[in-house]
Point group: D2
Chain length 357, copies 4
């Protein structure tokens, strides 16, 4: 190892390439050729902002019901694929989203998996999700969870199609190489508790004496009815000043920890009052939004689009943006923020490039 | 949406493909064609078991010092690329590993990044790593950390080359799209505290009155000297029975929380006594091992190899294996287990396929 | 220090007493004369079981309103003094309880103190408690908190007297020598938020984005309406089996932590179904009960009494007892259990002397 | 309840007293006569500052060894009784302290109790404390714990007397009515692990894989050798600036949580450099100090005393004081601060009456 500098200076590109080829055969590669792609000054993935108009997607869902049965599909879902991440079933680098449809009389049979799932109900009234022996009736705007490794099935006992937005941590779990799954023989799991039982046990500022933290670290509440969420948003509006970036914004919580409803995904609801003129904002968690009420103009550095009821859109990590309501609007959103916070990675910048990091 | 079953039965493969093409143009894709690849019954990545013989890699490191200066390289490292994940700079699906060499008189200049890094010293005595204004002298077997967003630089004031194993959460941070980095103008950061200061403040069962949990959630200890670790392993051996799978195994901790030294990577040391005949084991965290003492026969389902001092090997997620010492041996290892535990995803199986999940 | 045993044998009682007198002058005392009183095999305080009949106490409250104005009293309260602890204003060794009355048009002016207080509303409808700028309207059965160091005042805008049970950690705070208090100049604090605001912000499975853990470690919910609690108890009854000792029992929680509503006092509600025949029970936290519905026969080792609506009774630490409903009954209770749990001291024994410790 | 104000005005002192007597018979008392004694503006107990000179107390210990055998005494200890709290075996309102002596060849037989105990070794070298099957050799300055409900015994295999300061949470546990205790038949408990085992398992920045949080919430480290503590204090001195009130001060920690060594008592070590001129200080936890090195002038509002090696002194809650070293000095101290912090009660004031609360 003598005189390294001299030797190094003499090394030509060709010599280096020859070296790389030789070590490559032994599963080695030079870091110095890749360091700046692996460790970037700011997030730099292929994830792009994107917008799915419900008006456009809704007919495809109808068409899909004619192409495949719920039974055959197991889950009849159209994946919302990020245009920058095609082929990866990803809406952000870490998360999956899709629109699921279930027709009257159909069931999506029971399975469970290490991936956590959330639902935001967009259309219909009266279908159910059953989680670990408890049935939850779903209505528009409700936020429903099926935490990691919980048996869950869906069914539609109502007389109209039911459509909801699915969010899962598929890419995160895939990257961790920690996917486990099981299918049930039964279409519907056995019901062990009355409808609404978990809401009664955990949703009223109380907890049973024998509650213990579950292994999956998820909230014992499986459903967060929109009726309650909406009331909370309006109470905030009548009580105080809006956040300059977010308007009136709440996070869904696990009432036994104050943490997120599931450890891998945070979910949020926000009310943007009419005339609200937000400051620019960005954070390190790519975020999926759905419009529950109103219309919102989404402004990014080099594009803008108008999001209307049931539309879904995604803001990539660290992309500066403004959500400008065209009337009083309510947005639902979800992201991997709890993961980044747990790992000490999450960052935000408020107020634009002049804002403090 | 009438008569879906009838329509569905009539749908041919061609009709479906045509539909997929149409919706693909609108950034949609059918989940039912991919569900079973996204949500697998058990972990099923391309990650493979692999083994790097130090005897083989060491000459390449010497050669590399002749091909590129430390200054030009910023970090002169050979990446240990998993043969199943070539081109991704990954040793497991979530982690990066490399072997770094620094010659007498060289420095690797200061930078910081959101990626957390750990080092296991393999060769040399007396080079340093400086972290946030404090210099740590490195000796063989020492475990040294540079947590997320801490300024760090390395230098070799000794008269022999220094080589260590690097482990970083590059793939995890990349997947979360949360990479931030800065370079310093200075080769060496300003030293603010004496050598060994953090060991004195936090390594003796004490903490300063004004300690506060840091934003990066990392241990305030930057160095875990092998001398101490080795003493602990031998004390365990003289005190009690070995774990049937792991022998005598300890985890490195943050003494202010009892958690891992950094939130994204757990690190472990284990002593396998001579004649130890372990039960099979697997867990959902792909794990990187390095041999500090002795020789270990690594047995997997369809391959086996002998790991000798300073050799590195990797066991993928959920790959059943046995680590059979050929003499008294000490192993260092690291993995993403703290991440999976924080997210409620980690699993293990002890005792082989007949073991309980 | 030679031949201690010989010397010790020779020491007479009188010699010892003379020694004790001499060292006493220097603030020293022999432990060996007191050890077995200080460190007892099981709890052995002077606290006794006791029962306050509302029918008997209610006329005293009326009489008190004629003897002292709310203004003069600051708080017009009759202390429920444990008969074994007279003169100490204590209902258990660690807690205080009292019955407070406020007439139409009266106010109890604002003050704050390090002692935490809880209220269980026994009679009346429409008086208020204001806590930190937010007014809460109180109704029978509601559980209302005024956590440590929060400004609070009460007033009765209704047209009937309002009576509630107060519980405070007065003895605990006194023993810790940590009492701080301030009086406000104003009868009524300024209201900063609408009535019910905290219920809307924290009581619906949501939390504002900017919530931070408060220094007093208390729940942001100040009121737990009986309507909700009652619904939860009945849902539990319709869903599952009763606990053999407690029937259907819930604890009031801080929805941001899952912990108790205040760090020093736990509060509980339980439904004892008609015909329920409980197993004996004891725990190390002396507990204060109030009857909200029904009638309960309280059985202790050497006494029994019948508790009727609004009656209050206390069970000392480690006193075995059974709560036998004479009809469907609902009990409220509070104790220092969260303190003992936080300190690793709490114990229980279920099923009587034959039960495992 | 008509016209209360008029009636109240008419009520004479005599009428009130008559009322109090009547309700007293039913275990009731008027709060308004006591409120300002129960809820005081600042801590106002009978606890006084006090100082025990080792030079004065040491001969009494010798004398005590002639008056009672270790066997007869179970623990041969002189209680340090606060002059304001005589007869209560208390050094502060919540804590007990004593000086224990054990002669060569003596043993203090095994018992356990819910009270937690700490020891600071003042004199001797080589006696032992055994805790839960592990023996710890004690040397001057060592801080040793026997957490709640751990079997412990002491013995002196050396050839000189051994004397240490005991601190226990006797008053706290008594107030909570949560005292449990058991005696062992055996003088010495069976030893299950080698001497120093817990130091090796938990004291080196490591933890065994199978560690689980214990029910008593105590540190798995039973001994904190003064050699290590002293090195840490001197390293702090050489590294940085002194705290204006405390000099260089460290807290003993549980390395698995970062919390106190036992949940009911915090323990601290501080170095006061020669010439240090501290700012006044007070906090809500009455604190017991022992001098390990040097001499310290203790200044309080209306008294001052000089504390020399092995002297013990106590500062009551909220008593402003200055600890002025007459030469480089090292102090050990302990208090109930972790209890007050866990309950949201702890306060401090730095810099005197002009300091901010």
């Amino acid at each position: 190892m003598d005189n390294p500098d001299k030797a190094a200076q003499a090394a030509t590109r060709a010599e280096r390439e020859a070296f790389y080829a030789r070590i490559g055969a032994d599963n080695l590669a030079p870091l110095w050729e890749q360091l700046h792609n692996l460790v970037t000054p700011t997030p730099r993935s292929d994830c792009q902002p994107a917008h799915w108009s419900y008006q456009k997607v809704r007919p495809y869902l109808t068409e899909a019901t004619g192409l495949i049965t719920a039974e055959e599909a197991e889950r009849r879902v159209l994946i919302l694929e990020n245009p920058g991440l095609r082929g990866k079933a990803a809406i952000t680098t870490s998360l999956y989203a899709g629109l699921q449809a279930i027709l009257p009389g159909e069931v999506a049979r029971a399975h469970r998996h290490s991936q956590s799932a959330l639902r935001l109900i967009l259309e219909g009234d009266g279908a159910y999700t059953s989680v670990n022996g408890e049935k939850t009736i779903m209505r528009r705007g409700d936020f429903v969870t099926t935490p990691s490794w919980t048996w869950h099935d869906h069914g539609n006992d109502s007389d109209a199609p039911m459509i909801w937005l699915d969010g899962l941590d598929v890419q995160l779990v895939g990257m961790l190489d920690a996917s486990f799954a099981q299918s049930s023989q039964a279409d519907r799991q056995e019901l062990l508790r009355p409808v609404g039982d978990s809401q009664m046990r955990y949703g009223n500022g109380l907890a049973p004496m024998d509650w213990q933290p579950p292994a999956n670290k998820a909230s014992p509440l499986f459903s967060y009815p929109y009726e309650r969420t909406r009331a909370s948003l309006h109470a905030m509006q009548s009580a105080g000043e809006a956040d300059p970036c977010h308007g009136y914004k709440l996070r869904y919580i696990d009432p036994l920890t104050g943490g997120p409803p599931m450890p891998t995904m945070g979910a949020y609801a926000q009310l943007l009052p009419a005339g609200f003129d937000p400051l620019p904002y960005r954070c390190s968690s790519g975020t999926v939004f759905a419009v529950l009420e109103g219309r919102v103009l989404v402004e990014l550095a080099d594009r803008r689009f108008l999001a209307e009821p049931n539309d879904v859109f995604v803001i990539p990590s660290w992309a500066e943006h403004r959500l400008v309501p065209q009337e009083k609007s309510v947005l639902f959103s979800f992201s991997d923020r709890p993961v980044q916070e747990a790992l000490g990675l999450w960052r935000e910048q408020r107020g634009g490039a002049s804002g403090s990091l």
